[in-house]
Symmetry: C2
Subunit: 285 residues, 2 copies
Amino acid sequence: METFYSILEKRVEESDSLLCVGLDPHPDGIDEFSAAGVKAFCSRIVKATAPFAAAFKPNAAFFELLGSKGWDVLKEIIDLIHEESSRSEVKIPIILDAKRGDIASTAYAYAQSAFEIIGADAITLNPYLGKDSIDPFLTFPGKGVFLLCKTSNTGASDLQDLRMTDALNSEKQEGVFLYEHVARLGQTWNTSDNIGLVVGATHPEALERTRRMAPDLWFLSPGVGAQGGDLETALRSGLRKDGGGMLINLSRSLAREEDPAKAAASFCDLVRKATQKNANQQALQ
Amino acid sequence: METFYSILEKRVEESDSLLCVGLDPHPDGIDEFSAAGVKAFCSRIVKATAPFAAAFKPNAAFFELLGSKGWDVLKEIIDLIHEESSRSEVKIPIILDAKRGDIASTAYAYAQSAFEIIGADAITLNPYLGKDSIDPFLTFPGKGVFLLCKTSNTGASDLQDLRMTDALNSEKQEGVFLYEHVARLGQTWNTSDNIGLVVGATHPEALERTRRMAPDLWFLSPGVGAQGGDLETALRSGLRKDGGGMLINLSRSLAREEDPAKAAASFCDLVRKATQKNANQQALQ
């Protein structure tokens, strides 16, 4: 059985892309916020961007906003991604952006819901409840998680940027940031190649620090585009030594385009150029 | 417009109870895990315990596990609680245990879903993303939130028990625990009487520390009963000076009883006795 991240690596290679296509059917961006409207909104993006997508990331909140119908639409969109996936050799991983986190027996229900009922391949999780709230998700073969580490919003500083006096293996007197501690936990807990991190592209320094703490993990990085993060800086700060290890999420900046396929292709070109430049600079050093 | 916590105070007074009835339709506890099975499971508990309930707390995960049908059942159960509520003068508040937490625009969608679509009065939230992830929930008049502070699981220590060097107003050299910092943030942010905290009844010392940081806030405390927390110790450690400020959650230990009404009534008696004993001891000091 392949692991979630080995499948992701293959898909990244096949698509030659680090693009994660976010599906955020926000009411403000849809003419008619209904099951049909949301389905049309997402289908358009999925069909246009599938050839360029290393992964898709539907945002559970906007489906939930439709009540029970929303869950049917989400399932339909996931089925559509599977269908589009069948044209490529490697299936396109689907990351459910749901930011769950609960005690063990409840967490197991969320895991079953995400992986078995909805059919996602990975899910975003909140680490505040600790290891035993993550464990139930790690028991599903081929499935994966992304732990929230350093998020792209301004409020992230309220908790994530606090310094810890007793974080494990703390080598500096001032203590590491809470998000660095989470990164280190993720790196330590990742014994079965199924844990990654959410690290906003809006904080290059945080990307660098997180990469030092978690040299092997995949990062899911929102914040480029609509949220203002600079792509080249983000990649330079967050890529692994092998030039991989980062999924750059785009949502609104694709959805707003008249031709999302063209926008996705251009973005992939930008990423390739930036990654190449980065590799050249590293080779010169 | 009354605030969420002023309504809760009234309901606590009317019912003379600090009991929060948890609705956790766990597949292991239900003969047939289906929409009908979950509905029957929850209806039985709601009808039996409504006279003794200061609040109800449905756990979103187990409804989600039924897919889209689960959301319809959740809505039906909430309607049933409203119906049972109509027999009392004060409506029985409904706390959706969903532990959400996301960046602002997504958080607003979760808030709308919880308060407008599902019809809950309050929701549990994860504070890891900071203030701007909480704010959207605080804009709904009469609605409230409970921030995860110190949870009842063992993994809670992974993050929540870390000490911070730079937590705000830190007066002690060793820094406060992360959960204490969250408690203090909750107390500071609670300018509109709509913020409470989730503090597990399994950690009396944490209850005491949290109460010192947040003297005014309501605590939602799971962990008594099935999870092994001692009721009398928990109340002594966590109650406000006025003898209120704590909702003690019971789920499995009510659902498992042949007569949940009798079990709820006995539990309320125990709480009253413990609260009275506590008040007497305080008067003697």
